[in-house]
Symmetry: C2
Subunit: 249 residues, 2 copies
């Protein structure tokens, strides 16, 4: 039976991390929000099993099982799609990497919504300018140099983050970097030379048959200013002199 | 062999979610940052296995295995400490709840650090006032009423979030609510009457033998203004008229 993915239509959002895994594996799935529209998505959400009701989309229905939280969905799907190691230690390591990617995704979102996700960007632009400056100067380098180091030290080779074959964490790192390149092209260009392994991994992911076909298809929605990664040029300014920070925590 | 917990000394922080599970189970562990001091913690972090280096504390050493990311540590510890269901579906559901708790913890942190964790609170107080207002008016009710509903609908009874016996998610919800009560006593008092199940669960967790003994011991550090949950009275203001929000996402 086909998986059912529940997520908002019109944006890649957190649903995209699940889509990429399903598409890479060639798994059959219905993207309910896109195929049936937002009203049907909302109606379906109201009819969910109240015992296991998820807090928010995305969530995935796999037969009788309903799974929420992006990293949890991927943890569950990983072995079924052959996108995770089979052993528990390997699965935990991939999950740990995925959760670190999720932390950075949340921070990327908050660059344009540092006050409240329920307010418009224009109502929190002053705060967004400050937060985005910290993000591009401090957080992007800190997170991406961490993944660069993990790739360089992987005993299975720098072609993937964990073990010797691709996992869903590789697909998610690709999506994260694609989103950052869309939202912060100047900041990412400044970093590119110091991220050879991350860059090579992203290139390799984009060439995987399932991913390459997906990226060319109409199923891949473009990035836009409704999603997590938004290109507001004023948030991607040039900074010659870095901001001074009070403490390193 | 005793577990080794690596976390910053002086704060409960994210390490506390791991401590509560270990303490509830009476597991032997060394809290390296507290027993050896911050310099020793930093030195130990530099000597970690570079292949599985965690992005940030907390992380846990269990023999040869090093595990990072709070929810991932608890996922790994759960069955060993008898604080998670044995079956995969049950473990995934507890993990989903834990990740939702983790999302709220991150939002609670950002009420006092909405711009940058590397800047002092005083340097982002204006932004913090706006973010905390949204958090207390919208986010606390949304998250805690979700957990209230999950407890009320649990077929195993409202005494725990999942199944018929306590899991680490129950301990984490207790810690989250304790932290919110410390940081936002007025907002939490306004909500108390609508959260009977959450309140009862937190009371029950505090009476569990391992937890009760821990809370009375010097190992339980008090909340303070260096941690995730900080009591800045100006962030916990009375609000008669709610802010208007542009959209509900």
């Amino acid at each position: 039976m086909a998986y059912k993915l529940f997520y908002w239509p019109g944006i890649q959002g957190r649903g995209e991390f699940v889509r990429l895994a399903l598409e890479d594996a060639g798994a059959a799935y219905e993207d309910v929000g896109r195929s049936q529209g937002e009203a049907a998505l909302m109606a379906a959400m109201k009819k969910l099993d109240p015992v296991h009701r998820p807090f928010a989309p995305p969530f995935l229905q796999d037969g009788d099982v309903l799974v929420g939280q992006t990293a949890n969905i991927l943890y569950c799907l990983g072995p079924k799609l052959d996108l995770a190691p089979a052993d528990e230690a390997g699965r935990l390591w991939v999950n740990q990497l995925q959760l670190t990617i999720a932390d950075m995704v949340a921070e990327a979102h908050d660059t344009h919504h540092p006050v409240a996700s329920g307010l418009y960007y224009d109502d929190q632009k002053a705060e967004a300018l400050r937060r985005a400056r910290d993000f591009t100067e401090n957080r992007i380098p800190k997170f991406l140099s961490y993944f660069e180091e993990i790739l360089a030290n992987n005993p299975g080779g720098a072609g993937c983050l964990a073990g010797a074959s691709a996992s869903y964490a590789d697909l998610s790192l690709f999506q994260l970097v694609e989103g950052l390149r869309y939202a912060f092209p100047k900041a990412m260009a400044r970093m590119a030379r110091s991220l050879p392994q991350v860059t090579a991994l992203c290139d390799a992911v984009s060439r995987r048959p399932g991913i390459a076909a997906y990226l060319k298809s109409p199923r891949r929605q473009p990035f836009n200013e409704e999603g997590i990664f938004r290109h507001y040029p004023e948030l991607d300014a040039d900074h010659e002199a870095p901001q001074r920070f009070a403490n390193p925590t």
